[in-house]
Symmetry: C2
Subunit: 445 residues, 2 copies
């Protein structure tokens, strides 16, 4: 007999057992359904691509170089595992834009890999969930992304959340007004940390990294902290941009978004124009989005994105502007767990049919299929073990109800239903089984 090999996963990687995978899959299905209802279509791209393709837009010293899972394939090609879904999207639309037709709305749920040093909650393999509209400059597309974020969170059971929106052209206009146009990149990179490191931290960094004075830093921060209703903030911006075309355009996009949300009857507090939102990434050129849960703001934005106008520039001369966002699956799952929105998701099927008379296995499966056809998932215990052992299994797994039929029940055409949370029992006819179970299960059917 050869020596046993210890079963284990690599550091930074994890298995998803049912208790992690059931809510994850439920979340992904709700997301897919929402995306599709807006006309976003699913795509997938290879996990492995040429390194040259993946790094086309990455600067030489960038962190991602060290994090890449990069190797030579059997044909000695320099390849790597994808580290996000944005680069593959850019490659995909550049390659296929003539057959795809524009505008093109897509969503993509896919695994990506980054060899980061594993810390608490950081993994080297994780799922991304992106949705984007390519091929249109229309502000209606920017608004729609915010609507998708909204309806997605509603579909997942959230009610108290706020989508923060801003516009890079507005920010650029404000910085130009302060005579700081040439320092935009460094200033916005610092400003992006306002929630994390606070006013003093940002001010220090702006002085150090962008070479501005303390006064200038405070002016930028004060602008970003402009407070008020959307109407008030937009009114201030309109006044300020009386002379700036780019600034006015940015304000108009934000106005359009607020108007559509109002016309669609969405509560005002769910969308907020927030001049402090700027996103760290360089490639955003217009609208930017971040989304916070009102009951759990500390976990940060759970859905972020923006408009970018030159994502595909390294692969094609065709202009393919886009706007989109990315749902933070793992962050959202952690939030749902903390807010107890994951209750009732411990078993894939809520009902266990126990096995008491092995010769009647055909009847156990017959009734199981009858219930499944009624939309009630149920599992048949495979062994004729003692009922006590089967109930123990049912409780450990978290089933809501167990069904029992022994010789007496079969003789009478009845089934015993055991309510596993209330530990109560009732006997019902086979014909009324589905109805009674539906009452017992409520929303967990």
């Amino acid at each position: 007999v050869s020596k046993l090999i210890e079963p284990r996963t690599l550091r930074g990687f994890r298995d998803y057992p049912p208790e992690l995978m059931i809510p994850r899959e439920r979340l992904m299905e709700a997301a897919r359904k929402t995306f599709r209802s807006y006309g976003f279509a699913p795509i997938d791209t290879p996990a492995i691509e040429l390194t040259e393709i993946l790094l086309a837009k990455v600067e030489d010293g960038a962190e991602i170089h060290k994090q890449l899972y990069r190797f030579k394939d059997a044909g000695d090609r320099d390849v790597a595992l994808r580290f996000d879904l944005t680069v593959p999207l850019a490659r995909f639309v550049s390659q296929h834009f003539t057959t795809l037709g524009m505008p093109f709305r897509r969503y993509h749920l896919g695994t990506v890999w980054r060899g980061e040093s594993p810390q608490a909650g950081r993994y080297r393999e994780f799922m991304q969930c992106d949705f984007d509209t390519i091929g249109t400059l229309s502000p209606a597309a920017d608004t729609e992304i915010a609507l998708v974020i909204h309806d997605l969170l509603i579909a997942l059971g959230f009610e108290r959340f706020r989508i923060h929106v801003n516009n890079r052209q507005v920010l650029n206009g404000l910085l130009t007004g302060l005579g700081l146009a040439d320092k935009t990149t460094a200033l916005l990179r610092s400003l992006d940390k306002l929630a994390k490191i606070g006013r003093d931290g940002v001010s220090d960094e702006m002085m150090r990294e962008a070479g501005v004075t303390a006064e200038q830093a405070l002016q930028v921060i004060a602008l970003a902290e402009t407070r008020g209703s959307n109407a008030e903030v937009l009114e201030q911006l309109r006044e300020r941009f009386a002379d700036s075309d780019a600034g006015r355009q940015g304000v108009a996009v934000l106005e359009g978004m607020c108007d559509t949300f109002r016309t669609a009857g969405i509560p005002e507090e769910r969308l907020q124009v927030d001049l402090a939102i700027c996103r760290g990434l360089d490639y955003y050129t217009g609208t930017v989005y971040e989304t916070f849960l009102s009951d759990l703001p500390s976990i940060g934005s759970i859905c972020s994105g923006g408009r970018y106008d030159n994502l595909t520039g390294r692969y094609t001369k065709q202009a393919l502007p886009g706007v989109g966002a990315s749902l933070g699956l793992d962050r959202l799952l952690a939030a749902m767990e903390q807010l107890k929105l994951l209750e009732g998701t411990t078993t894939p099927a809520p009902v266990l049919i126990t096995q008491f008379v092995p010769e009647r296995i055909g009847d156990y499966q017959r009734v199981a299929r009858m219930l499944r056809a009624e939309g009630i998932g149920c599992e048949v215990y495979p062994d004729a073990k003692k009922l006590g052992a089967q109930f123990q299994y049912a409780e450990k797994r978290g089933f809501k109800a167990a069904l029992i039929a022994g010789p007496d029940e079969f003789a009478r055409g009845e089934w015993k239903i055991k309510n596993l949370s209330e530990r109560s029992e009732q006997s019902v006819t086979e014909a009324s089984l589905a109805t009674e179970l539906r009452v017992l299960l409520g929303n967990n059917a």
Copy 2:
């Protein structure tokens, strides 16, 4: 400006654009729903594992060594991409069996990689869809796998198919009866090719590879070709195994399966005891399954599997027997396309709301959300282009209906519905829009 990089995928890899991905996702969702209704729970495992783990059960000269995507990670560990979902399952249950609890039913839809030479229809990256019950020797579990295959195909819209079942113990018993017990492996490997290379081919190979006489080869083939109803074949087997415990046990498993299918009211022709089915893989020890579409038998088995009793032996001393099967997603999709079961799946949402009055974008989105809430997916065209261009887009994409509202319609509170396949139009009030669309869309809502 730096030189453009040609956007392309690696040889043997492919993108999944919407027209491939929409039916694929629909199929995967139907599969997940069926698995869950039986109490199978989803799991996932890392794409990258230690090579030592992945190759634990692989013989030295095996083909898979050459096909493995294998490399050194940043920590100089010898790692590889998973080449199937069976090895990760064995590792997973060995590692977690105490917390999982037995019996454990899982399904796993996941990507695997094999560096095969790319031929027609063969890719180096593909999706597998496996479902297994671990931790029980009960024949009820074997029966259940056949039931899942059955209900899965029904859920996907198939009616004419046949699940072929056999049992390795029965085959072993038959070969022992012919005095060929020591040649089982080689004989079954040849027999597995009966449908592909025919009687003469199999006979030649048996003589060459197993060293049997022509007469012995013909005896084995004749046994495998035993025809008749399930009851007749089982009756013959019972007589033949009057003296063999192992053989009788195998027959009893097949009998139990036929009994349950009958009790559950499933048409007799959907399950067939077929002594010619033996599956090529060495690790099967009991029941084996293959599934054929009656209207397209030539594409081969679309769902296959079996019982295995020692899958985890390299990782743990704990006995963890299992039984399961794997759905051939890509083969099934090809079949569904040929049988025209994929109609009506060209757009994620069936309705396009055209944009005629840009200032009314809020109303277009308001009505779109109202329809989505009624379960009718609809896309809002993002640009106020000429209606002709928007209809062209709608036809190219394959929308079923387009909605139009201009100043006249807004004044009257009406919408124009354009049936895009019949090229007819009607005007309806906003209140009756959902009802009328449901009539137009039928099953495509």
